[in-house]
């Protein structure tokens, strides 16, 4: 048995929306933990609560009850301002779209997050260039998002997510807007980062190609975990 390090622990998490007086249990009592180096896909039918769960894990949304622990820190105990700083330091994000600032180049989009962290100029530009190289965008550092394809933009988003040296990266439907070539390219890059740097990824996805690559697949239905399968 290999030694593990828990990066996220979720305890009895619930999120209830009171839409039109009918309570919707978007997440209905989920407990799980995610270990360092996992490549996890959260799957399930539309509306089963994937995004809601991921947002709470990422500290974007507050649970109705239960708590999320990242590095032993209870996210529920953080003030809103502290939570933003916490996300900046510990969590990487890749969204389905609108990941990048259109007015910044690929390199600026990547180094921007390090600038928020107060990193030095040399460190920023060196790391941003290295990360863009790692995602196969060498030579495109100066391009604006509008000059890049959807797949290339998502790769910049991955570089940006890595730039802050997070504990883990959450990605909500990162391939939903991509063609199959760009999808497999992006997946290869993320799988390689997972292998080589032990970066932890948690996806919410419908995409079978993502599910095929995942080392762990958690299936939700009506806000509950139905199956939790670890593949070897």
């Amino acid at each position: 048995m290999k030694s593990t390090e828990t990066v996220v622990k979720v305890e009895n998490l619930r999120k209830t929306y009171n839409a039109d007086a009918v309570a919707v249990h978007a997440v209905d009592g989920i407990s799980l933990s995610i270990e360092k180096g996992e490549f996890t896909a959260i799957v399930g039918p539309s509306g089963c609560g994937k995004t809601t769960l991921l947002n709470m894990i990422g500290g974007l949304d507050r649970p109705t009850s239960g708590d999320v622990y990242v590095q032993e820190v209870s996210i529920g105990s953080l003030s809103e301002g502290d939570l933003i700083d916490f996300r900046l330091k510990h969590i990487g994000f890749v969204f389905q779209a609108y990941n990048l600032l259109p007015v910044l180049s690929a390199e600026e989009n990547t180094s921007f997050i390090m600038q928020l962290q107060g990193k030095s100029k040399e460190e920023r530009s060196q790391r941003a260039r290295q990360l863009l190289k790692n995602v196969g965008l060498e030579g495109r550092e100066g391009d604006k998002p509008a000059q890049l394809s959807g797949g290339q933009q998502q790769r910049v988003a991955v570089a940006r997510a890595l730039a802050s040296k997070p504990n883990f990266i959450i990605a909500d439907e990162p391939t939903a807007n991509l063609d199959s070539h760009s999808t497999s390219n992006l997946l290869d890059i993320m799988a390689r980062l997972n292998e080589e740097e032990q970066m932890t990824f948690v996806f919410a996805t419908h995409d079978q190609r993502v599910i095929d690559k995942a080392k762990r697949v958690i299936t939700l239905e009506d806000g509950k975990v139905i199956t939790d399968e670890i593949r070897s």
Binding site: T51, N55, G58, L60, D61, G81, I84, D85, R87, L88, K89, F93, F95, Q96, A97, Y98, N99, L101, P102, V103, L104, E108, F112, I113, Q115, L116, Q117, G118, K119, R160, A161, S164
Partner: protein, 411 residues
């Protein structure tokens, strides 16, 4: 603050994302400021002209009288130690020229009527160094040498009222130093017209020796010394210094002789600033609207920024800076264009002669030469920055009120 630079960079580039929309706002600010500056330059130019012509026809930069003159203005109040006062006054920095005069209120009468007038006894050679009344001549000559019937220099309105022409005779009645009424006949030597019809209706100039003989004083005596000083500001300093040297003389700068000239300056500045404030506020509403639209369009992006760790203080600041840029970019252009247009029109002048008759009554010329008003530029810049800063608060507040989860979900 290492993050300041990137936030300012983003704000600046965001500003130009919608070039037409931002351009329209910048243009509005440019034109608004141009209008404000032109109005300021026009008003200041008009006011300066009014002051300058008052100074060069009947106020001077400073005046000296015997003590008590301000209250009594009586004929026996001659300036004591005249030579000494003049000698001292020439030593004080700013002195350019002086003219000694005799002054008394009397009566001018022709067969068509009689009017109260101020009679001024002047040395033509000296007086023209301080006043420019000789340049206001419209007919005849400026105080020619005495003949059998002495000559007078008469305002146009007065001449019209008494139906006088060059060469006509009329009678002047004054009081001599012993208190007796004294009369003499004068012939109109020249007719003048200044910018003040009030002055033209009530003023007669005669030669000083003629007046001295009429009222029975020594020809070298004077009721009044008028001065030309290097500048309006220096005149105030100069008068203060002379006054402390001669406590028993009344020394007054132009501002004390004609306080209304100074008030006009202050009142004009106040009303100009109110006007400028209103114009810039109106433009700021356009800025507010533009920024609210921009934030609505970019809410997903703003949500993303907050999600990945941009805190509220920085987000607030970013939107604020963009708003201030939007307001401030047009300001230097507007100031420059305003300045250039003032210089151009200051050379060419603005002919207001269609309303010129009305202006004369207020002591103004019909052609206005606007003057550049650098003293207003900083004030305008400050108003722009303060106003846009104020108007930036609401969009910035709106942006930090965005909920990142909802903003991102609204794909």
């Amino acid at each position: 603050m290492k993050t300041l630079q990137i936030i300012v960079t983003i704000a600046w580039r965001n500003l130009w994302r919608n070039k037409v929309r931002s351009g329209v706002v910048v243009l509005a600010m440019t034109m608004g400021i141009w209008a404000c500056i032109f109005l300021a330059g026009f008003s200041v130019g008009m006011n300066d002209q009014r002051t300058d012509s008052a100074l060069s026809t009947y106020v001077g930069f400073a005046q000296v009288h015997a003590n008590g003159w301000e209250d009594e203005r009586s004929v026996e109040l001659l300036i004591p130690n005249l030579e000494e006062v003049i000698a001292k006054s020439q030593e004080i920095p700013g002195y350019v020229a002086h003219a000694s005069r005799l002054v008394e209120t009397g009566m001018a009468a022709s067969s068509y009527g009689a009017l109260g007038v101020q009679v001024q006894g002047v040395d033509p050679a000296m007086d023209t160094l301080v006043y420019d009344l000789q340049t206001r001549l419209i007919e005849g000559e400026f105080l020619p040498e005495s003949r059998r019937v002495p000559r007078a220099y008469v305002g146009e309105s007065l001449a019209e009222e008494l139906k006088l022409e060059v060469g006509s005779k009329f009678q002047v009645t004054l009081q001599d130093v012993s208190g007796y009424a004294t009369q003499a006949l004068f012939r109109v030597g020249g007719i003048f017209k200044t910018v003040s019809s009030q002055y033209d209706k009530s003023t007669i100039l005669i030669r000083r020796e003629d007046m001295a003989g009429l009222i029975g004083v020594d020809p070298s005596a004077a009721h009044e010394i008028v001065y030309k000083i290097s500048s309006k500001e220096q005149a105030i300093v100069w008068a203060g210094e002379l006054s402390s040297a001669f406590p028993n003389a009344e020394v007054m700068s132009w501002k004390e002789v004609s306080p209304e000239l100074g008030y006009a300056d202050d009142m004009m500045a106040t009303s100009l600033y109110i006007f400028i404030g209103i114009i810039i506020m109106a433009i700021s509403f356009g800025i507010l609207n533009t920024m609210l639209m921009a934030i609505l369009e970019r809410r997903r992006e703003l949500g993303m920024l907050m999600a990945v760790g941009m805190n509220k203080r920085r987000t607030f600041f970013m939107v604020m800076i963009e708003t201030i840029f939007l307001g401030a970019v047009g300001a230097p252009i507007g100031i420059l264009v305003g300045h250039l247009s003032l210089i151009w029109s200051g050379v060419n002048g603005f002919d207001l002669s269609s309303v010129g008759e009305g202006l004369n009554a207020y002591g103004m010329d019909a052609i206005v030469y606007p003057s550049a008003v650098p003293e207003y530029y900083l004030g305008i810049a400050v108003i722009v920055v303060v106003m846009t800063l104020l108007f930036s608060l609401y969009p910035a507040y709106k942006s930090i009120r965005l909920n990142p989860v909802q903003a991102i979900r609204s794909v």
